[in-house]
């Protein structure tokens, strides 16, 4: 268990003054979002990209499809920017949009045509250890996605962003104790998941 302890000091999500002013304006619904708001969303997406990509990759096997999903989520977020009430909670909001976009696409693709046979053949055969590792990671991401959303968000911030409890509490606007309880519950559930048990068996 020689895992290095990350020493990142993360601040809660910064919102530029101009963007905050737009969000706090009483007639926001009738005013177009300023260009700075678009820039701010782009920055937030780039900064937490690993988290959003992690959510999408848990639903889709193909990395490029997961990337497309994050792009779709970005489009949806920008189109509905006016519905975001608290800009400080943008990360959680974007994560929920990503998750919903993935679920919607999966629902639609159930009725769509499947991949051509040669693509399926390529995916069925594990070419190397690297692919095997990626697959195991994807299974784990899927199990994280299967958790209740409030637990999953805490886990994502912990493992994708290397946040400690107080940083998670700041980002999600929760009390420290709440984060601890959610983390404990999530870890208890994840300890039972198959991909982790497989990992434990191999590391012994």
């Amino acid at each position: 268990m020689g895992i290095p302890v990350p020493t990142t000091s993360r601040k809660p999500l910064e919102v530029p003054e101009q963007v905050r002013a737009w969000f706090e304006h009483p007639l926001r619904a009738r005013q177009p979002a300023p260009l700075s708001a678009r820039d701010w969303i782009a920055q937030t997406l780039q900064r937490h990209f690993r988290l959003f990509y992690g959510i999408a990759h848990g639903y889709f096997r193909d990395p490029s499809q997961a990337e497309d999903m994050v792009q779709n989520a970005a489009v949806k977020a920008l189109q509905n920017l006016q519905s975001l009430k608290d800009p400080g909670a943008a990360v959680e909001w974007l994560a929920r949009i990503t998750r919903n976009a993935c679920i919607d696409t999966l629902r639609e693709s159930r009725h769509a045509a499947t991949d051509p046979p040669e693509v399926l053949e390529q995916l069925a055969v594990p070419a190397s250890v690297e692919i095997y590792r990626q697959e195991r990671q994807r299974f784990l991401l899927r199990e994280i996605n299967a958790l209740p959303e409030n637990l999953a968000m805490v886990v994502r911030l912990r493992f994708f962003e290397d946040c400690d409890v107080s940083e998670i509490a700041d980002l999600l606007g929760l009390r420290r104790n709440t984060v601890e309880v959610r983390l404990h519950r999530a870890l208890k559930k994840l300890a039972k998941c198959k991909s982790l048990k497989l990992f434990q068996r191999q590391s012994r």
Partner: protein, 120 residues
């Protein structure tokens, strides 16, 4: 040191997984055992997802995509059909004021309640 304090220190990244597990192993009791399991699970998950990285350059691509187009929707102002007409004409109509007020929703008539059929 109590179990709760150890766990708290570990989740605050003030204590490494190895140190926390060692300290918890020295404490007897169910809560210490459960806490050690939790620390181990956390460390294993972190190790598994340590090298999880999105494709190269994906962040920059997304940033460029978001900044390249105006994806922000203009807010829709509802107007009645009569008020929409001068706007769609494309030239100024004398006496017409382009107001920002949203149109009032139309009132609907209440459907009449059906009379119960008389039984003979």
């Amino acid at each position: 040191m109590k179990v709760d304090d150890l766990i708290r220190d570990y989740f605050d990244n003030a204590l490494s997984a190895q140190d926390a597990a060692q300290a918890l192993a020295a404490i007897s009791g169910g809560s210490a055992r459960r806490a050690r399991q939790m620390v181990e699970t956390d460390a294993q998950l972190r190790q598994l997802l340590e090298d999880f990285e999105p494709p190269e350059g994906a962040e920059e691509r997304l940033g460029k995509f978001v900044r390249s187009r105006n994806l922000v929707k203009a807010p829709e102002v509802k107007r009645s059909r009569l008020r929409r007409l001068p706007v769609s004409l494309g030239f100024e109509v004398v006496g017409f004021q382009k107001s920002e007020k949203p149109a009032k929703p139309r009132r609907r008539r209440k459907p009449k309640a059906k009379r119960p059929k008389k039984r003979k």
